[in-house]
């Protein structure tokens, strides 16, 4: 498939370990397997997620939506500027 110079979206994952209750929803349902549960414990004794492969994050925000603790969100990665801009409806 040809997408011009359009690049895949990239996201930056932000995790608040102290709010996390280790349910694993974000890890399990990330479509590109960006996250794993850490071996470390947070103060409450849960294993928070950690980023295993940051390059794989597509900024889909499903982890952000499914997390019952509001403990993870994703922001778009700053672009390196040479991709075509997507235009919506213009």
């Amino acid at each position: 498939m040809y997408f011009g110079k359009l690049k895949e979206a990239k996201g930056v994952v932000h995790i608040n370990e102290s709010w996390c209750k280790g349910c694993g929803f974000c890890v399990n349902y990330c479509p590109t397997k960006v996250l794993v549960l850490s071996k470390d414990y947070n103060a409450k004794g849960y294993h928070p997620p950690q980023v295993q492969d940051a390059e794989l994050c597509r900024d889909c925000k499903f982890c952000e939506l499914i997390c019952p603790e509001f403990a993870i969100y994703v922001s778009p990665a700053p672009s390196d500027g040479d991709e075509d801009k997507e235009t919506h409806g213009a």
Binding site: V51, E69, F70, Y73
Partner: protein, 310 residues
């Protein structure tokens, strides 16, 4: 590296616009589904473009009912079962408000069951979001009207021998004009349906099947939150428009999800106005009009009268 240990996590989190971040972490158990539904709700409010000052959230009592205390919108944590009457009062006193009830299956359909059926019957213009975890979570896992037949609860330790309510069918039979159901795994779809429900005129109902890990899951030896989501992933079937007589849920059986009903019908307030305008005539002052609406109407009336005179 694309990872941030963000010191301003609470403020920078996109949810901070909708939630009282200073109250986090919340009280819900690990793997409980309520938090996901709250996020989906906030997402829906964001996408709806509604004025945040014109939305009010009303909850009853229960784990789900705690939502009222976490949202950064006008909210009322009412008494057990009475979220819908409070919401009805709010709506009638201030028809410009979007009034949303956010509560649990026990609260809305057991002690609050009567209010639920009558608000649906009247096509009261409110949105009801029900987190259905098949149990009274907050008080220790008792059976509710939605607990599936044979499921274990603290009040049915040998399994539930009653017939459960199928909430979409109940709402439909009573006259609700928008009805959707999802599971808490369908986070995006919940958000889409709540957005539609918010924009719907009339009684809109969104049911979300969600895990109560500590009581329902544990008592029934069904594992944790992830096991619940896996069950939803395997056994939820999207069936938009399906006849609500066919959407009941057997214990660990198939869960039909989707938008089952969407239709237009005059709301309670429409009917009040139409009826009194008819029986009282011009003397009757329409109820629930905003001042600009009243002025615009008077102007239109004067203009058409002037036209008629020519």
């Amino acid at each position: 590296m694309n990872v941030n240990a963000n010191a301003n996590f609470a403020q920078d989190n996109p949810m901070s616009q909708f939630l009282r971040m200073e109250r986090m972490p919340h009280i819900w158990c690990p793997g409980c589904g309520i938090g996901t539904v709250v996020t989906a709700f906030a997402e829906a409010v964001k996408k709806s473009g509604l004025d945040l000052d014109k939305i009010a959230i009303v909850s009853g009592i229960g784990c789900t009912g705690r939502t009222a205390g976490y949202v950064k919108l006008d909210s009322f944590h009412s008494t057990h079962g009475r979220a819908i009457p409070l919401a009805t009062g709010l709506k009638l006193a201030n028809p410009e408000m979007k009034v949303v009830v956010f509560s649990g299956d026990g609260d809305l359909t057991s002690i609050g069951g009567n209010h639920f059926i009558h608000a649906a019957r009247r096509n009261m213009d409110i949105t009801v979001v029900c987190v259905n975890n098949f149990t009274y979570g907050m008080t220790g896992g008792q059976m509710t009207p939605t607990t599936p037949h044979t499921a274990n609860a603290s009040t049915t330790p040998y399994g539930n021998y009653e017939y459960p309510f199928s909430l979409p069918f109940l709402a439909d039979a009573c006259g609700a004009t928008y009805i959707a159901r999802w599971t808490s795994l369908h986070a995006r779809q919940i958000s889409g349906s709540i957005k539609e429900a918010l924009n719907h005129k009339g009684f809109s109902f969104v049911e979300v099947i969600a895990p109560c890990t500590t009581l329902y899951q544990r008592r029934n030896r069904l594992g944790d939150g992830l096991d619940a989501l896996e069950y939803y992933q395997n056994d939820a079937e999207i069936a938009h428009g399906l006849d609500t007589r066919q959407v009941d849920i057997d214990y660990q059986g198939k869960i039909k999800v989707g938008k089952f009903v969407e239709k237009q019908k005059p709301t309670y307030l429409d009917n009040v106005n139409q009826h009194y305008a008819q029986v009282i005539g011009d003397e009757y002052e329409l109820y629930g009009k905003t001042t600009p609406e009243k002025e615009a109407e008077a102007k239109a009336k004067a203009e058409s009268a002037a036209k008629g005179a020519v």
